[in-house]
């Protein structure tokens, strides 16, 4: 077996010169002056200056260098390079699936957190709607409405604790929110205690509580909702990008293997090293199948994102705006004649509900869902405004606080019930669809790693066949 030039090249190396060009130069590692110390013939500086560990290390390095010298040495180097590249490819393929899986799991967890935040916000505005509405009927509030208020506050504070447990990054904001909720609830209790004694200062406590809730607690909740929404979007994007691992590592590994094949063909006068080619084929197949699989997963995730997930968000936002509108309706009447600011706020909230519902209507995920009965409530609200504007405040209050058929509370109640059910359904569907999308990802990751190991075995086998010829 004749090997062309390499020995001539090694012979020309001056002891302190920079590293000469070598067949391995494709790696593009620049030679540094320090590499001069690595020459086998040179006196290692450690031998004179230090007889300890560096000296022994120098001996090991010298023997390593000896084993890599000459054509067999280069073959050993090729074997190591291809094995390492294919093993890394396996890891990268596994990582691609793991990253996609992790991103989807985290997207689902963040989306759960988002739903939790929106539930907190809903409970808080619901509690305020109850408190303000009960106030209109005086110190003797309806027991059902009081129970509803208490349930909403309880649910909100439970969810705050639960949410803090699920996302440490939300901790500080949730802590601040908890303070606001405690302050709100205590102001409402003070309003109640005063109302119960028929003292007008109760109304002021209620107004302050409601105003502070809007100025302090709702901005916090908005930040929490925005931050989690952002995190969900980030993870959805990460899930889509996960295949980059596979593609980049796959292409680099293919490059290494092809270069290895070319080098072998030149040095050994055999056109194809079959096992090494098989390794390249394994990498190629894994790359193509993996990329296809991940693209499919990513498209399923996108479907869920634009479908059920978007519908969940719309429904939740519609509910929040709806309860806000209901609070403002009561505040309009409490302000008695000076409620135009609250009526403007009602208009804005109602417009927000309508916008969310129309977005929901265009969402394919909402086909088959009955439209939410928001307009039933708005028509009752219009009647209330007409009565109040024509001077019949008592009539307006009766319509706003009654519970019988055709009252504001009845119409709003049916919107509340149906939107709550729809939200629960959509939220479950989101979780399900995301879960289905990631079902095969752990298996894919394992197969990717196995493909890497298989390719590494093939590469080792292929190069060692040539190496055998030197024994």
């Amino acid at each position: 077996m004749t090997t062309p030039t390499p020995s001539a090249t090694t012979g020309r190396v001056p002891p302190t010169a920079p590293a000469p060009p070598s067949p391995g130069q494709q790696t593009g590692i620049p030679a540094t002056p320090a590499s001069g110390r690595g020459d086998a013939n040179a006196q290692p500086p450690s031998a004179t200056s230090n007889q300890g560990v560096p000296g022994r290390l120098g001996a090991v390095r010298a023997s390593l260098r000896a084993s890599l010298a000459g054509t067999p040495g280069r073959l050993r180097g090729l074997a190591a390079l291809t094995v390492l590249a294919t093993l890394l490819f396996g890891l990268a393929a596994g990582q691609a699936f793991r990253a996609a899986d992790g991103a989807i799991v985290r997207a689902a967890a963040n989306s759960d957190q988002l739903v939790r935040m929106q539930a907190i916000q809903t409970h808080v505005v619901q509690a305020d709607a109850d408190a303000t509405n009960a106030f209109l009927v005086g110190g003797l509030e309806p027991p059902a409405q009081r129970a509803d208020y208490t349930a909403a506050i309880t649910a909100a504070s439970q969810l705050i604790a639960e949410a803090a447990q699920h996302q440490p990054a939300d901790g500080p904001a949730l802590g601040a929110l908890n303070q606001e909720l405690v302050a709100y609830a205590s102001e409402i209790e003070q309003a109640r205690a005063n109302n119960r004694q028929a003292l007008p200062v109760g109304a002021q406590y209620l107004k302050d509580a409601s105003a502070n809730l809007r100025s302090d607690a709702l901005p916090l909740l908005k930040n929490l909702v925005d931050a989690n929404n952002q995190r969900v979007a980030e993870e959805f994007d990460n899930a889509g990008r996960a295949s980059l691992w596979l593609v980049v590592a796959g292409l680099l590994t293919l490059l290494v293997l092809v270069l290895g094949l070319v080098w072998l063909a030149r040095r050994t006068r055999r056109y194809v090293n079959v096992p090494l080619a098989a390794a390249a084929l394994v990498v190629l197949v894994t790359l193509v199948l993996g990329a296809l699989g991940l693209t499919r997963v990513s498209s399923r995730v996108d479907t869920a994102r634009d479908g059920v997930y978007a519908a969940t968000l719309s429904t939740a936002q519609a509910r929040i705006a709806a309860f806000d509108a209901k609070s403002n309706e009561s505040l309009t009447l409490i302000a008695r004649g000076s409620g135009s600011a609250f009526e403007k706020a009602w208009q804005a909230s109602s417009a927000a509900v309508t916008a969310e519902l129309s977005e929901l209507g265009q969402n394919p995920a909402s086909s088959g869902l009955a439209p939410l009965p928001w307009s039933d409530y708005t028509s009752v609200h219009k009647q209330i405004r007409t009565l109040d504007d024509s001077g019949d405040w008592e009539g307006a209050v009766e319509l706003a606080t009654g519970t019988g058929h055709g009252t504001s509370n009845a119409a709003f109640g049916s919107f509340n019930t149906s939107s709550r059910e729809q939200l629960a359904g959509l939220s479950d569907q989101t979780a399900q669809q995301l879960d289905q999308a990631r079902r095969w990802l752990p298996l894919g990751g394992a197969l990717g790693v196995l493909a890497g190991v298989l390719a590494a075995l093939c590469a080792w086998w292929g190069v060692s066949l040539r190496l055998e010829e030197y024994r």
Binding site: P6, T9, T10, A19, P20, S22, G24, T27, I29, S35, G38, D39, A40, R61, L64, L68, R74, A80, L81, L84, A85, L88, A92, Q95, G102, A103, R106, A109, L136, G138, G139, Q167, A169, D170, G171, A173, N195, A198, L199, P200, V201, G202, A203, Q204, D208, S215, D216, P219, L220, N223, L224, A227, W245, R336, G337, S338, G391, W393, E394, V397
Partner: protein, 339 residues
């Protein structure tokens, strides 16, 4: 060339390790959710109108411009308002639109049990409604804050304001007033047993140096408060807003008319109105749009009737006698203003 291999492998290993580390460490760790940068406290604002010393004692009549338009010799009968008059506009609408307070106990406050707004101020409106419609309850109530009193009259969204409003020369430039229907005076309310900084008993507003004192924005009480040096004025929307700040310990005292303070003290057994003479004179009048002079004359006629037939005294005894003692004789109406 043998030097290259270990280096390449080391580089690859480092690359792989860093990729894996990056993949494992950053996943699922997020920046903290931001807190809102601007967190608004229930701001006790101190943005009130510029200070202007309030008159007192015998100067009140001239300094406060108590002169109003003289009433007609006979009032038109209910339901027969002269055509073209502002009263006929109200009659056509079918109800009197009035700006009132819903939280000034005794003068105008919502009874939480009945839901109705009632008080001494409101009784004046019932009398006007009676004279217009022969029905005391044809009133559409608009609840307004102290600062809204002039704006709602000027923009015509209410016919009349009955909200413990002091007649002043400055306000006469913007609106018209009825004749005086009550003479109040400004006092201070403090925590029961409150002492001055040196531990002495508090006898008046001059003893509140270094303390926070609350008054409604846009009120004569706030104007007067700002003329006292060394105490810290704090504004709120209404006197009840001041009471909330007082109960929350955010202010040490409240200043306002004795009637209003009596209503606040009635809601809080741990508050007391500092006894002693009032440091201002606050003649109350009903506010009406400047252009509706015929309506001012009509209302003055209604008030004159109330003073004469004992209705004024009856109403005083209903609302104010418990807190302020037996009814004095009603304030004397001063006329003579010409358009």
């Amino acid at each position: 060339m043998s030097r290259r291999r270990p280096r390449t492998r080391a580089v690859l290993a480092v690359l792989a390790a860093s990729l894996l580390a990056a993949a494992c460490s950053t996943a699922g760790v997020y920046e903290s959710t931001p807190l809102p940068t601007h967190r608004s406290a229930p701001a006790p604002s101190t943005t009130a109108s510029a200070p202007s010393p309030a008159p007192s004692g015998s100067d009140v009549v001239s300094a406060n411009c108590l002169q109003s338009y003289a009433p007609p010799a006979t009032l038109p009968a209910p339901g027969h308002m002269p055509s073209g008059s502002y009263m006929s506009t109200i009659a056509r609408r079918g109800r009197l639109i009035a700006g009132v307070s819903a939280d000034t106990l005794l003068l105008g406050s919502r009874n939480p049990v009945s839901g109705r707004i009632e008080g001494f101020d409101i009784d004046m409106l019932h009398a006007v409604s009676q004279a217009l419609f022969n029905d005391p309850n044809r009133i559409e109530i608009r609840v307004i804050t102290a600062a809204q009193r002039l704006p709602v009259l000027k923009d015509g969204s209410v016919d009349i304001v009955a909200r413990n409003m002091t007649i002043t020369c400055a306000r006469w430039k913007e609106i018209a007033f009825s004749s005086e229907y009550y003479r109040s005076g400004q006092k201070v309310m403090v925590q029961l047993g409150e002492k001055t900084k040196s531990g002495a008993k508090i006898t008046g507003i001059q003893d509140l140096v270094g303390k926070k004192v609350c008054a409604p924005n846009g009120s004569t009480s706030m104007d007067k408060l700002r003329t006292f040096k060394g105490l810290e004025p704090v504004g709120a929307d209404t006197h009840t807003g001041c009471l909330v700040l007082f109960q929350q310990g955010k202010v040490d005292a409240i200043t306002g008319d004795d009637t209003v303070l009596a209503g606040l003290a009635a809601q809080d057994p741990y508050a007391e109105v500092v006894q002693g003479p009032a440091f201002t004179a606050e003649p109350y009048g009903l506010g009406i749009n400047q252009t509706h002079i015929d309506f001012v004359e009509f209302v003055n006629g209604v008030l004159a009737t109330m003073r004469a037939n004992g209705q004024w005294t009856k109403s005083y005894n209903t609302w104010l006698a418990d807190a302020l003692g037996k009814a004095p004789s009603p304030p004397v109406a001063v006329y003579g203003r010409t358009p």
